[in-house]
Every structure is written in structure tokens, then in C-alpha cells.
């Protein structure tokens, strides 16, 4: 954007995109640190490597045992490189599924935190089956017999985010976004110019209230004051409340009911009509 561009309206789609990507916005580990007692990180996909763009491990959310898995961005340059800017590779998705299946084996609920610009578009990721890794997660998450609560905490970047997102409940933070394509890429296709990202962001209907309206998320988690970046402790507390509530609701369902509940949820997503 040029320096002459006026600041976007505070509740515009583009303003939300900026907040979702805010350099100080809490990332997965910031929430885990504040919300998960006795967190033990678990590494690796036992196939190829440990992907630092996805973190996972077990611990306790206000005394509830949970397996937590999240996409992880870095804060400073060194961390950003280490976390690959939060863009997972196939081994990240495979690690995530390994941990989810581990949780399922011991009947422990799962929390996933979505925050990625997208799955990594690189040669090595393609060679190791980026598409297959995401596809496999989508199918296998659908049959896990334990509660899954997914939360979009920042950038819900298309299939790369969805690869951890097949939950019984899908929550979204007030200033987070969830989209099929980034506004920049969308603008590049339509207007041949990524600078039109602001228009694209509005057209894509990627904000929390719009997603709620389309029935693609179940609830919006309010952020304090100017946003989660300004008050991370308060934001974590609100997220903790929402997670605890969702997990408690789901704790009454049997494995079969959990799978059916998840299936019905995604089965109903769509919008079309029958021509006569």
C-alpha cells in the first residue's frame, strides 16, 4: 500500500486483516503459555522431520486434559525464519494428525489453533505431498472419536488453516479472518494488482461476523479493547472461557455422537439452489 492510502475504517474487512496480522498479536504459544497448565510439547511426525510452523503438546486447560495443536508464527526475524512465517509443510500436518490420533487413543479432547498465511508453497513441500497431507488430515479428523474445538486466532489462510480445522466447534476471535485465498492473491487475479487487496478483503467476506452469518463458524470470541495484541492476558482469559465452555458442552457426547455432530456440521455448509 502506498503511504498516501488513508487508514481503513476500524471495522472494515481490511482493518480486520491488519489486526489479524498485527506484529504484536498473540500467537499459538502465547495462548498456550497463558492457558495450558503443565504443557509438554511433543515433536515430529515420525516420518521425516519436526515442523516448527506447527506446535503441539498436552496439558490442562483449567483442569481439563487437552491436546493442543496450533500453527505458530515467529515474532522477530530469527523466529519468523525458524517458524517459516507460520507456513506449515507436510510434516507439520502429519505431526498434527499424529498428536490428534494420540489424543483420541486415550480419549482426550483436542484444541486446534489456526493462524497461518497458508500452507508453504515450495518445492520440498510439493515433493513431500503438501496436498496429500492436508487432504488426509481433513478425512482423518472427521473420524476422530473425541471432542475437537478449533479456533481461528489470527489468519485463517485457506487449506493450510483448514488442515487443522475440522472441529465439532469452530470459534473465531473477533479480529481474526478465515478465507479461501489471501486478499492480495485475490486482488492479483481480479485487478492484476495486489494493491487492491483492500477491495478484495471486503469482497471475500472473511470477517468473523460474516463467517458467523454464513454458518461457517459457531461463535465469535470477543477481544478486549483495541484487540488481542493490546491486552494479550485479557484476550487469553476470554479465549479460555470460550474453550472451557465448548469442551464442557461436548464432554457429554459419545464417540459416535461426536463424529456425527462433526459430520452434520460440515455437511450443511454450502449455498445453492435447484433450477427448475
Amino acid at each position: 500500500m502506498s503511504s498516501q492510502t488513508p487508514a481503513p475504517a476500524p471495522d472494515s474487512a481490511w482493518a480486520r486483516v491488519q489486526l489479524a496480522r498485527h506484529p504484536k498479536r498473540p500467537h499459538s504459544l502465547d495462548y498456550i503459555q497463558r492457558l495450558i497448565a503443565g504443557f509438554h510439547e511433543l515433536h515430529g511426525d515420525r516420518r521425516f522431520a519436526d515442523d516448527a510452523a506447527i506446535v503441539g503438546g498436552f496439558g490442562y486447560l483449567r483442569d481439563r486434559p487437552v491436546m493442543v495443536i496450533g500453527q505458530q508464527k515467529g515474532r522477530d526475524t530469527k523466529q519468523k525464519l525458524h517458524r517459516n512465517f507460520g507456513m506449515p509443510k507436510p510434516e507439520g500436518y502429519r505431526k498434527a494428525l499424529r498428536l490428534m490420533q494420540l489424543a483420541a487413543k486415550f480419549r482426550r479432547p483436542i484444541v486446534t489453533l489456526l493462524d497461518t498465511p497458508g500452507a508453504y508453497p515450495g518445492i520440498d513441500a510439493e515433493e513431500r505431498g503438501q496436498a496429500e497431507a492436508i487432504a488426509y488430515n481433513l478425512r482423518e479428523m472427521a473420524r476422530l472419536p473425541v471432542p475437537i474445538v478449533s479456533v481461528v486466532i489470527g489468519e485463517g489462510g485457506s487449506g493450510g488453516a483448514l488442515g487443522l480445522g475440522v472441529g465439532n466447534r469452530i470459534l473465531i476471535l473477533e479480529n481474526a479472518v478465515y478465507s479461501v485465498i489471501s486478499p492480495e492473491s485475490c486482488a492479483a487475479i481480479i485487478w492484476r494488482d495486489a494493491a487492491h487487496a483492500e477491495k478484495a478483503a471486503a469482497a471475500l467476506r472473511l470477517t468473523a461476523p460474516e463467517l458467523l452469518q454464513f454458518g461457517l463458524v459457531d461463535a465469535i470470541v470477543e477481544e478486549p479493547g483495541e484487540g488481542a495484541h493490546a491486552e494479550p492476558d485479557a484476550a487469553s482469559f476470554q479465549l479460555g472461557n470460550a474453550l472451557a465452555g465448548a469442551l464442557d458442552e461436548l464432554s457429554h457426547l459419545s464417540p459416535e455422537q461426536l463424529m456425527e455432530d462433526r459430520y452434520r456440521k460440515f455437511r450443511s455448509m454450502g449455498s445453492f439452489f435447484q433450477e427448475v
Binding site: M87, P117, G118, A119, Y120, P121, G122, I123, A125, E126, E127, G129, Q130, A131, E132, I134, A135, Y136, L138, R139, E140, A142, R143, G156, G157, S158, G159, L162, G165, V166, Y178, S179, V180, I181, S182, S185, C186, A188, I189, I190, W191, R192, A203, L204, R205, L206, L211, F214, L216, R262, Y263, F266, R267, M269, G270, S271, F272, F273, E275, V276
Partner: protein, 282 residues
């Protein structure tokens, strides 16, 4: 990320059209650059008999190639409701109308049932010429309904992909079709009903990252572009040229993501043999 690259959306709609509408009796092969006789090409399933290059073909030709004879189409009238009220260079509603006129289809997929080697099967075939074969709610719903018919009547499923990925114009609703179809395929898997995914040129983005990679068998036509990210996006990310053959069928076979690369003229027999093995003959 960008499943629709500028290149992708260009390739999809325009290139398909160009090939089909090229006038005259002769055309130049994209594989070997030799001039070939159009009529002869059509008789060869649109495969160049000099170099084996597989031309893109339409849905109707695909279905004719695989079914023994007559087939019944399902959900023919299902169409997009333009849930976002999406407007880019023109309103999405208008784009849908003009695509419908150009292809005779209300969206990018045809789902049908009939017999293949005298076995009842459900086939879903994507139409690349319809907004790049992109997947929105109609594609998601029609494939899911086909899976449900397979579950109800215990017949195998074939999905033939040709797609640039999820459809931008339906936003996150398109994205969620990936999960919706994959969940339905989980049910098919649990029921022990076979699903063969046939990947054709091109299959990328959210289609590859969902049902196209979830077959009991994943098989592709030779030389098809198959990947998650489009080549242009990868080049922009790594700032270098991609090697020849990158993300082509043979590359995926080498890296372990395809069961086989199957020439078009052998496709029906290959699928028939697989279903014989999975379900028993007769």
C-alpha cells in the same frame, strides 16, 4: 494461499476454449508441435498418436469413454446462489450465466450413474472450462450427494478431477467444501466402498488437497499438472525457475503420491480391473 494464480485462471477457461474452438481440420500438437488431423485425434480419445500428448477433453467425452452405454445424470439443476454477492471485474452472477451458456452446464461438475464393465458405478467429472473447474458449493454438494448414493446402493465411486482449486467467488464457503467432501469420503472408507480418484490436467489447490488425493487409488493421466500450490506461486516464493517436469504426473509417481500413471485409452480397463479386485467379479 493463492490457489488461483493469474496463470491458472488463464489456463483454465481460455485455453480450454481455444482448443475446442480452433477451426479447421488440422491442429498443432502441444506435445510434439506436429500438425495432426483433428478427426483422427478425436478417434484416439484426443491423445496424439505421435507423442502421446493428452489433450484436454470435455466432461461429456469423459463419461462416454468410461460408461458402457447409457447413463443417468443427477442434480443437473443445482446452481450457485452467489452467497457473497461477489463482484470483481463483473458480477459473479453474470459470470455464472455466461459460463452456463458457453458450456451448457450450470456449474463445474457432472455427476452420473451407469455401468462400467457391467458394474454399476457413480462417476463425478469436473469441467475445466467452467471457471477453471473451480470448486464452490455446487461442486461440493454434488460430489457429497454422489458419495451418499454410493453408500446407499453400495456402488463404487470415481471422481475425475480437472480444477484450479476452490472457487474464490464463494469465499470460505468454497473452502469448507474440502472438509465436507473429505468427511463424506471418510464414511465411504468406513463402509469399505472403493473410490478411485482420477487426476487430469490440471488438478491443483483445494481439489488436490481434498478428495483428489483421497482415493483408494489415485491415478493420473500422463503429463498432468498436479500440485497444491500453482507453479507461478512457487516460483514467486522461491525466486527461481522450477525444474522441467515438476508437479507433473510422472513427478508425483516418482515421489510416491500416485498409484499409477494411466494413459487415457487404458483408463476404463484399469478402473474395471481395480473394481474387479476390490469387489469381486460379476
Amino acid at each position: 494461499m493463492a490457489w488461483f494464480t493469474r496463470e491458472k485462471s488463464g489456463v483454465s477457461a481460455d485455453e480450454g476454449e481455444k482448443k475446442v474452438k480452433t477451426e479447421g481440420l488440422w491442429l498443432k500438437c502441444d506435445g510434439c508441435s506436429q500438425v495432426i488431423w483433428r478427426k483422427g485425434l478425436e478417434e484416439q480419445h484426443n491423445v496424439c498418436d505421435k507423442c502421446g500428448f493428452h489433450f484436454k477433453i470435455e466432461v461429456a467425452a469423459r463419461l462416454k469413454m468410461l460408461f458402457d452405454g447409457e447413463y443417468e445424470e443427477f442434480d443437473q439443476g443445482l446452481a450457485s446462489s452467489d452467497p457473497l454477492g461477489f463482484v470483481d471485474s463483473r458480477p459473479y452472477k453474470e459470470r455464472l450465466e455466461s459460463m452456463k451458456k458457453a458450456t451448457g452446464l450450470p456449474d463445474a461438475i457432472v455427476c452420473a450413474a451407469g455401468e462400467l464393465h457391467r458394474r454399476r458405478v457413480q462417476i463425478c467429472a469436473m469441467e475445466l472450462k467452467f471457471i477453471g473447474g473451480s470448486m464452490g458449493a455446487v461442486v461440493g454438494e454434488k460430489i457429497t450427494r454422489a458419495v451418499e448414493r454410493c453408500l446407499a446402493e453400495k456402488s463404487p465411486l470415481i471422481v475425475i478431477s480437472a480444477s484450479g482449486g476452490a472457487r474464490m467467488q464463494e469465499g470460505a464457503i468454497s473452502l469448507m467444501q474440502m472438509a465436507k467432501i473429505s468427511a463424506a469420503l471418510m464414511k465411504l472408507d468406513e463402509a469399505g466402498i472403493p473410490f478411485i480418484s482420477v487426476l487430469t490436467d490440471p488438478t491443483t489447490g483445494g481439489v488436490t488437497a481434498s478428495f483428489a488425493m483421497l482415493g483408494d487409488l489415485n491415478i493420473a493421466e500422463p503429463g498432468a499438472l498436479i500440485g497444491f500450490a500453482g507453479p507461478r506461486v512457487i516460483e514467486q516464493t522461491i525466486r527461481q525457475k522450477l525444474p522441467d517436469g515438476f508437479q507433473r504426473s510422472e513427478f508425483l509417481l516418482e515421489h510416491g503420491f500416485l498409484d499409477a500413471v494411466v494413459p487415457r485409452r487404458e483408463m476404463k480397463d484399469y478402473i474395471g480391473a481395480a473394481f474387479d479386485f476390490f469387489c469381486g467379479k460379476g
